[in-house]
Symmetry: C2
Subunit: 206 residues, 2 copies
């Protein structure tokens, strides 16, 4: 072979890595094969030595993006006390830094709507990663049995993703900061509540 054994894999990974950033920045249809290859320092012709189609790259790239994002949050949350992990995650997710850097952030507010409209294959791949992410957040919900924790994890993720979406629609204006703050406080407060289970002090709900 022309290049050393691992060379192709490295190139492949580099394309995926760069694409995962640009696709989150520009949208699932916002950037073409030629430009994506240029990002990786290549010409467009070589693309099909690595991927069956553009769609195949999109699937790989957003999967990679979700994995990196999850890894990142894990890193942030694993260094605080267990009962603070969820709030740590909310703080990290709903930051101005995340809002202003979609290319390195969560794929859900950036690509979710577009990918939900893609082929069943693409959508299902996304749905699988979504479930992984829910599971990850579930691990961070303190003091609740699994089922209730998962429910809370879903609600927290929905609030975070929705807040990020609204904040980006608002740009980086006053409204955007207001949205970010309102969403963060709400998610944190919800995280403090204990929906219908365990835990001693002052329960009583409804």
């Amino acid at each position: 072979m022309r290049y050393s054994r691992e060379h192709k894999q490295e190139t492949h990974d580099r394309i995926v890595r760069k694409a995962s950033v640009r696709l989150r920045e520009k949208g699932a249809h916002g950037i073409g094969v030629a430009d994506l290859m240029k990002e990786a320092g290549l010409t467009h012709g070589g693309f099909y030595a690595h991927f069956d189609s553009r769609e195949a790259l999109v699937i790989e790239a957003f999967g990679y993006a979700m994995d990196r994002a999850m890894e990142n949050w894990r890193k942030q949350s694993d260094q605080v006390a267990p009962e603070k992990q969820l709030t740590q995650m909310v703080e990290t997710y709903l930051s101005a830094l995340h809002r202003d850097n979609p290319g390195h952030g969560c794929s859900i507010p950036a690509l979710g709507a577009e990918i939900a409209r893609e082929s069943p294959k693409t959508r299902k791949a996304f749905a699988g990663k979504l479930d992984e992410m829910i599971e990850m957040i579930t691990d961070y919900v303190p003091n609740l049995p699994r089922k209730a924790a998962r429910k809370q994890a879903i609600a927290t993720l929905a609030t975070m993703a929705g807040t990020m979406l609204l904040a980006r629609i608002a740009g980086s204006s006053e409204l955007s900061d207001e949205v970010l703050k309102a969403g963060k406080d709400s998610a944190l407060e919800a995280a403090k509540r204990e929906p219908k289970a365990t835990v001693p002090k002052k329960a009583k709900q409804n």
Copy 2:
């Protein structure tokens, strides 16, 4: 003129109306000028008698979509008691019906991410409608001074939009129903809470 006085306006409105549905279904870039005109029973050539550009139609269509959605929710919420309006809105928004009919639903989960990436002009038009929507929901938040009500309105909208986004990623699977239920319960519970103000019984929070 060739047609009666209101004819052009009627045609214009019909294009906008049909486009607002198809764009929510297929995405801001998911359908072309020719197909949009065909939807309205016309050929593509006449498009520029009505709009300066495709983007101009997108702006009008999503503005129309937001207006109709707000009108719709108002209709639903205005016929229940004031203190139940917010929960009524949450129920309507987070229904399987809404999830499965993006073409007649809220533009935020359907088009938000794409429009946030468009030209500043388009994004700002969207941001304006977003603010209108927040104001509308604020009117439905019971028992709170304006500022706190607005904060809660934003959080509720974020949770609703995020939940809808996740539910659509999940398709119409078991996971999707689970997401819808978790988001709905969370939004309803948050609506029941009274964040740091007024209202008599059992306050006490941090």
